[in-house]
């Protein structure tokens, strides 16, 4: 079915007329050292077909053995998603022929997932265009199951890089057998026109959660987290579910939102024109923001699932599961709420910290003794600016939270002014040592000797008798010129507030 014949309906019109229902399937590559069913290594970016062994190549006679670490990660993910962990479950074989699948079946969980019936609360931010409030959406999780990844085909020749028109294809089996967890939602209903934002917020929340569990790199651009978007429309929330499309490999947060918007418009166009939506797999094109038809599923792909006879049933020890539950990290959203309350930040302030990737850094800086406000200012201000200029992540900045706390401590003690502290930071970033060492080496400390300051103030008054006269006449703001002269004399290493006090005192006295 060509999408060019029937135009997409503009988004607002589409969601005014139809109720969108989504289903999201997220594949996460676990960051285990070895593969799901063998000891082959899992290094990303290695030369093709070097991260393989008889099992991951599916050689005759080879047999799978479940990676215990992968099972542990799967259970922890299930627990973090508030799922029930199966007391007993099995793997199945999903049979179909494809050159990048060494055995021509995928070993996957089918009707007996390791984790099921969970939920994840998703904080959906206010719409960027101001048309919608922030709200929390509870995503119901149907299941999280274990499976193995396939290899990767690349099609050489032809213009599209796709299999059609290619002269030949190459297959790299390095990815074959990498442990995957597939997390499947129940149909997400009731989101209405916020559906694209809900989808994006869900994937973002899931990504943060998985990162906090330290089970995956969750790098969408490298494919270690991949999202398939199922979408259907129905005339009203009471109507039965419509026919869905499945858009594969939507691999950025922004694309998740865009793909949902696009498919809503496309489905609405078809339905309005009285056409049927084809149940099919669709490809997402990052460059054009369009989806195109993939394989149609109408020939009822029959995967001939049956229990994997080469693996024994999995029956996790309940005590072990409870131990894993007890040692789960605090969920990122709950942690953000707790820290916001502890630090007394506004929503906006917290969002700045989170968006800057500075939450851990601010927390560590506060733990090292700085006030939350000063920690936030450092990390989202000067340090962020410098990291940005260097083109590096905040976390990769060479300054540590301890050093930032120390720097702030020097400011609080009056040893450094804010400006001097920024200079000291420069020294720290340049590798000149701790803040105290930089202050020492560069001679940056504030001149707090009042006799030296008083002498400089007196000299400034003497040099500017007209200004002193104005001040005495009540024009206190004229003091700025004298303060500036003093600060210049002191090469900035003086506390401007103290200088001001002294100026007013000495003018009155003279």
């Amino acid at each position: 079915m060509s999408t060019t014949e029937i135009g997409n309906v503009p988004f607002e019109e589409a969601v005014a007329q139809f109720d969108p229902v989504m289903g999201l399937e997220v594949h996460v590559e676990l960051s285990t050292v070895t593969k799901m069913f063998s000891a082959a290594p899992t290094e990303f970016g290695a030369d093709p077909n070097t991260q393989v062994d008889p099992v991951s190549l599916g050689l005759p006679g080879s047999l799978p053995v479940l990676n215990a670490k992968a099972l542990e990660s799967a259970i922890r993910i299930g627990l973090a998603l508030n799922c029930t962990i199966a007391s007993q479950c099995r793997f199945a074989r999903k049979n179909y022929f494809y050159p990048d699948m060494p055995k021509n079946f995928q070993t996957s969980q089918y009707d007996e997932p390791i984790a099921f019936d969970g939920w994840l609360d998703v904080d959906v931010p206010a719409s960027e265009d101001g048309t919608g409030e922030a709200f929390t959406y509870r995503v119901q999780i149907e299941r999280a199951h274990m499976e193995e990844d396939t290899g990767k085909s690349s099609h050489v020749g032809g213009s599209t890089g796709r299999i059609h028109g290619a002269e030949y294809s190459l297959v790299d089996y390095n990815r074959a057998g990498i442990p995957l967890i597939e997390i499947v939602t129940r149909p997400l209903t009731g989101a209405g026109r916020r559906a694209p934002e809900v989808a994006k917020a869900y994937v973002a929340t899931l990504r943060d959660l998985l990162r906090s569990l330290d089970v995956s790199d969750v790098k969408m651009e490298q494919g270690s987290m991949r999202c398939d978007v199922n979408l259907s429309l129905r005339p009203s929330p009471d109507a039965p579910l419509g026919t869905r499309s499945e858009t594969k490999n939507v691999n950025s947060l922004r694309s998740v939102e865009r793909a949902v918007r696009y498919e809503i418009g496309r489905h609405a166009g078809l339905l309005r024109a009285g056409q049927r939506v084809v149940q099919e797999t669709r490809h997402w094109h990052e460059d054009t923001g369009l989806t195109t038809s993939g394989r149609e599923k109408s020939d009822a792909e029959d995967y001939r699932y049956f229990p994997e006879p080469d693996l024994v049933p999995i029956a996790p020890d309940p005590a072990w599961v409870e131990e894993l539950r007890a040692t789960l990290p605090e969920p990122p959203a709950a942690r953000r709420r707790r820290l916001q309350s502890e630090w007394g930040f506004s929503d906006l302030e917290l969002r700045d910290v989170v968006n800057a990737g500075a939450l851990d850094l601010v927390e560590a800086t506060v733990a090292a003794g700085a006030s939350p406000v000063s920690a936030r200012k450092w990390w989202t201000g000067e340090i962020a600016r410098r990291a940005n200029a260097e083109g590096i992540d905040l976390a990769s900045s060479p300054v540590t939270p301890q050093q930032v706390a120390e720097l702030q401590g020097l400011v609080d003690a009056g040893t450094l002014t804010d400006r001097l502290a920024r200079t000291a930071l420069e020294g720290v970033l340049a590798g000149e040592g701790s803040p105290a060492e930089v202050v020492e080496k560069r001679g940056l400390a504030v001149v707090s000797d009042d006799s030296a300051l008083t002498a400089a103030v007196d000299a400034a008054i003497a040099a500017n008798p007209g200004v002193a006269e104005k001040i005495r006449g009540g024009k206190v703001q004229a003091a700025g010129a004298l303060i500036g002269a003093v600060m210049k004399e002191m090469r900035g290493q003086a506390d401007a507030a103290r200088v001001r006090e002294l100026v007013l005192e000495r003018v009155g006295a003279s």
């Binding site: 008889p54 047999l63 053995v65 699932y305």
Partner: protein, 522 residues
């Protein structure tokens, strides 16, 4: 000492002579290689038990064992003894074809765990034995490289799928072989060639490197000319393997000790059940006669013999012929010409990977493999799964319950191994159902995962061909097979005065004048 003598020796006698320094492994290996060169022939004539003979490697391995022994190293009881390996187990340095064109010439980059165990035990692998393609068959006629012939009568089948492993023993080409048994492929060939074969408890021997037909049924096992020899090989192969998830943890059964204990011929206190459903109608008269005599001998040896009913065994055959092809259809999907083995590219432009897969499988698989792949694909299809695969699994549970109930009453069960003696080559090739029916007595053990042995109990009067008796024991009680089997063997030997295999006709020397270092055969 003449070379012919060494090939007539049992493995245990040869092992003792090797340990005593009376013979060298090189001499023993060369004697067997010469025997293979004399009698094994090729697809057209001779026993054709071997698809590949690794003469040079075997002699080098034998020399290495001799050298180690010369240095006084501690070696296993079978060190230096030649052994043949069914071509369904992966071996580095020699091809693994599974009797199929689709794997012709494929050399595995890794050794099966069993092969590693043989090598670690210092055994000398002389070559790979013939088999029905992917172990699918009861006659070895389904080998893509030509049939194996029964040493008792070259016009007859050697059984299958492991006809090569059994015939090699009966023709004195090698004293021990490794087989695999999915529905009887060790036991039925043993029965029709007058040799001993054991399917261990499922999980008792590693399946890593055993090319899968039906994963939940496949089990590698030992084949020999005597119960004790078979036990010696069993202990080399048995034990937990971390590379096989279905491998049993814990210590392996003490089968050699059981075989030695049984050799006294005393079975007092042992309860033996004769399976009512496996015998009688449909069983050849000569098979029944020899079986009944053997049961009488068990009674004479002091065993308490009773008849035991296993009513669900009647459904075992159809259940097996759903489960086995279902698993096989999936296990054999990997042979698609993409990575290894045969690749057939159809003529024309714009050929797709799918077309290459289809053409490769069409050309590379034989008729019986295609039949089972199609059958299994159908049985697993949506809408049929519950009726076929699902029901078959329920039957499997019922068969297991029959065994549980039976073993509540008796220590071992006995039956004829096969309903008939060796039939003629070609006789059932066009009647798969008739051929499948020959597995009726061996299949229940695979469905339930219990161990089984076949051992020779004489020759049928009507055709003078060997008859096998099957012993079955509860899971992880493999040693019971050896105790009862060794006792029966000892009593029969007393009666016969010489082993049954002494009566195998002398094999005709083949036209093939291959030397002992012949590498490629097929």
């Amino acid at each position: 000492m003449s070379a012919a003598d060494l090939t007539r020796w049992d493995a245990s006698r040869l092992a003792a002579a090797l340990q005593a320094g009376e013979v060298s492994s090189v001499d023993a290996t060369r004697a067997h290689l010469d025997r293979i060169a004399q009698v094994d022939g090729d697809a057209d004539a001779g026993v054709h038990a071997f698809l590949h003979v690794a003469g040079e490697q075997a002699l080098a391995d034998a020399a290495e064992v001799d050298a180690r022994r010369g240095r006084g190293e501690e070696l296993g009881p079978l060190a230096g003894v030649p052994v043949g390996v069914k071509d369904v187990l992966t071996t580095t340095g020699m091809p693994t074809t599974c009797g199929s064109r689709i794997l012709e010439g494929w050399v595995s980059p890794y050794d099966a765990t069993v092969v590693r165990q043989l090598k670690a035990a210092g055994m000398v692998i002389v070559g790979k034995t013939n088999m029905d393609e992917f172990a699918m068959g009861s006659t070895t006629e389904r080998s893509a490289f030509g049939p194996t012939r029964n040493p008792w009568d070259h016009t007859r089948i050697p059984g299958g799928s492991g006809g090569g492993s059994a015939a090699a023993l009966a023709a004195f080409e090698v004293p021990l072989t490794v087989g695999s048994d999915t529905g009887g492929s060790i036991r039925q060939p043993a029965a029709v060639t007058g040799t001993v074969g054991v399917k261990p408890t499922y999980g008792g021997v590693s399946r890593y490197g055993l090319v899968a037909m039906a994963s939940s049924l496949d089990q590698a096992g030992p084949c020999g000319r005597t119960v004790l020899d078979t036990a010696l090989l069993h202990e080399v192969m048995a034990g937990h393997d971390p590379h096989d998830s279905t491998s049993l943890p814990g210590p392996a059964p003490q089968v050699v000790a059981a075989a030695r204990e049984g050799a006294s011929g005393d079975l007092r206190g042992v309860r033996v059940g004769v399976v009512r459903e496996l015998g009688g109608e449909g069983y050849q008269a000569g098979v029944r006669a020899r079986f009944d005599e053997a049961v009488a001998l068990l009674t004479e040896a002091g065993a308490d013999v009773v008849e035991v009913g296993c009513p669900n065994f009647a459904h075992a055959l159809p259940a097996y012929y759903l489960i086995m092809p279902s698993e096989a259809s999936s296990n054999l999907a990997r042979y698609d010409g993409m990575r290894y083995g045969l690749r057939v590219v159809p003529d024309g432009d714009g050929v797709t990977a799918e077309q290459v897969m289809a053409a490769t499988r069409a050309a590379g698989f034989g008729e019986e493999v295609k039949r089972r792949v199609i059958l299994g694909t159908y049985a697993l299809s949506a809408g049929y799964y519950d009726a076929y695969y699902g029901s078959a699994q329920k039957v499997r549970t019922l068969v297991q319950r029959d065994f549980d109930a039976a073993f509540g009453q008796v220590d071992v069960l006995v039956s004829p191994t096969a309903p008939t003696t060796a039939y003629r080559l070609g006789e059932k090739l066009d009647d798969p159902l008739a051929m499948y029916a020959g597995d009726v007595a061996t299949i229940p053990a695979n469905l339930a995962g219990v161990p089984g042995m076949s051992l020779p109990v004489g020759l049928a009067d009507e055709d003078g061909l060997p008859v096998g008796l099957q012993i079955l024991a509860p899971a992880r009680e493999d040693q019971r097979l050896y105790r009862v089997g060794a006792a029966l063997e000892a009593l029969l030997l007393q009666r016969w005065g010489a082993p049954l295999l002494a009566r195998v006709p002398e094999q005709p020397a083949t036209a093939a004048t291959a030397s002992s270092t012949t590498e490629a055969r097929a």
